[in-house]
């Protein structure tokens, strides 16, 4: 059976190459992606919002995102909002200026203190990831996790990169205007493989799945459902 892509948190680091804090954002994001929450997180390069296609720009609509910036210019947070969608969380490294920037090292080589800041920022990211996914760690004891514990599952060796992932984007006519939906083919495929016929009986289930990844304005639900159902009918017809 086709699997609907699992909901993950997108981590977008500014990666600012000219300052140590930018390197901190990159290394902290990688630590979360590779080791701390490898199965719950995914990333995309910030410039791909501009250089990529519509599928890449749908990233922040598909994933709740955490923007990690090295300075108050907040390029990652602002760029994500400008091209894709407002980040759920915006973190700025050393925003309270509690650490002397020069002691973090250089953009090319961080010092031990710089690596400590990487640990701190990775911890902040993990906390937000768990909150966004409502993860309850340590279920045996009923205690939600707040720290940096490493998941028992084997970690992938590379960060899950969504570069060029091309999250499918479909434009439909809804009540006379064009509306862009994401992930429809994934949703249709799952329902189709489950033997769900394109009739009224599947409409609620279909729209529940659609609303996970798309915003459906109040008052327009019937029009959205009609357009999506028509598309599902066409999808099923092509499959036969």
């Amino acid at each position: 059976m086709a699997e609907l892509p699992k909901r993950k948190v997108g981590i977008i680091a500014c990666s600012g190459e000219e300052m140590p804090e930018g390197t901190v954002t990159r290394l902290a994001a990688l630590r979360v992606l590779e080791s701390l929450r490898p199965h719950e997180t995914v990333t995309i390069c910030l410039p791909l919002f501009l250089a990529g296609g519509e599928g890449d720009r749908a990233f922040a609509r598909f994933h709740p995102t955490i923007a990690v910036d090295g300075c108050e210019k907040r390029c990652a947070a602002r760029g994500t909002e400008m091209y894709s969608g407002k980040p759920a969380v915006s973190i700025v490294v050393n925003s309270d200026r509690s650490k002397d920037s020069s002691l973090m090292g250089t953009a090319r080589r961080l010092t031990a203190m710089g690596m400590q800041v990487v640990d701190d920022v990775a911890g902040q990211i993990v906390t937000h990831v768990d909150q966004l996914l409502d993860l309850k760690r340590g279920r045996q004891t009923g205690q939600p996790a707040t720290g940096l514990e490493i998941l028992p599952e084997p970690a992938p060796r590379q960060a899950p990169c969504s570069c060029g992932s091309g999250i499918p984007v479909t434009t439909l006519q809804v009540a006379g205007r064009e509306v862009t939906f994401i992930a429809l083919p994934f949703i249709f495929e799952e329902l189709h493989q489950a033997g769900k016929q394109p009739d009224e009986s599947v409409q609620n289930e279909l729209m529940q799945a659609v609303k996970i990844y798309n915003s459906v304005p109040d008052g327009n639900e019937a029009a959205y459902a009609h357009a999506v159902m028509q598309e599902y009918v066409a999808f099923c017809r092509e499959k036969h």
């Binding site: 990666s15 600012g16 990333t43 791909l48 250089a51 210019k73 390029c75 760029g79 570069c163």
Partner: protein, 136 residues
């Protein structure tokens, strides 16, 4: 006084080639041609508008991309900058296949060697024209 040439590397964090691009940018701007070049963070250019325009100014840019998406070259061009040369790591790697890089947060030895080779290619282009890069 001549304007410094802008070196704009890929800011990718998902592939070794992105790390090679970034390291090559550091080798050029810190080790090989610090007087003639300046590193520009790609993230700032993504925002476009006046911020990007003031960062780029009238200077020529050499972009170093890590993959076929060519974000650095595209973003500089979209921001109104002048891309004098658009280089990419995979193309350089194809000429030096014995230097297959690995690692992202920490590049391996091959990654550093490939970055050095790429940086020296950039230096040749800069030196060969007395600080003024040739248009590619």
């Amino acid at each position: 006084m001549k304007q410094k040439i802008l070196i704009v590397p890929c800011s990718g964090i998902g592939k070794s080639y992105g790390s090679v691009a970034r390291e090559a940018g550091y080798v050029v701007t810190e080790d090989l041609c610090p007087e003639k070049t300046r590193l520009v963070p790609l993230a700032l250019l993504v925002l476009g508008g006046e911020e990007a325009a003031s960062e780029l100014g009238e200077a020529k840019a050499i972009t170093i991309d890590g993959c076929k998406h060519a974000c650095a070259a595209k973003v500089v061009a979209e921001s109104g900058g002048t891309v004098a040369h658009a280089l990419d790591v995979p193309t350089v790697f194809r000429r030096h296949r014995h230097l297959k890089p690995s690692g992202i947060a920490e590049l391996d030895e091959n990654g550093h060697k490939l970055a050095q080779v790429l940086a020296e290619e950039i230096k040749e282009r800069i030196d060969g024209t007395d600080g003024e890069v040739r248009h590619g």
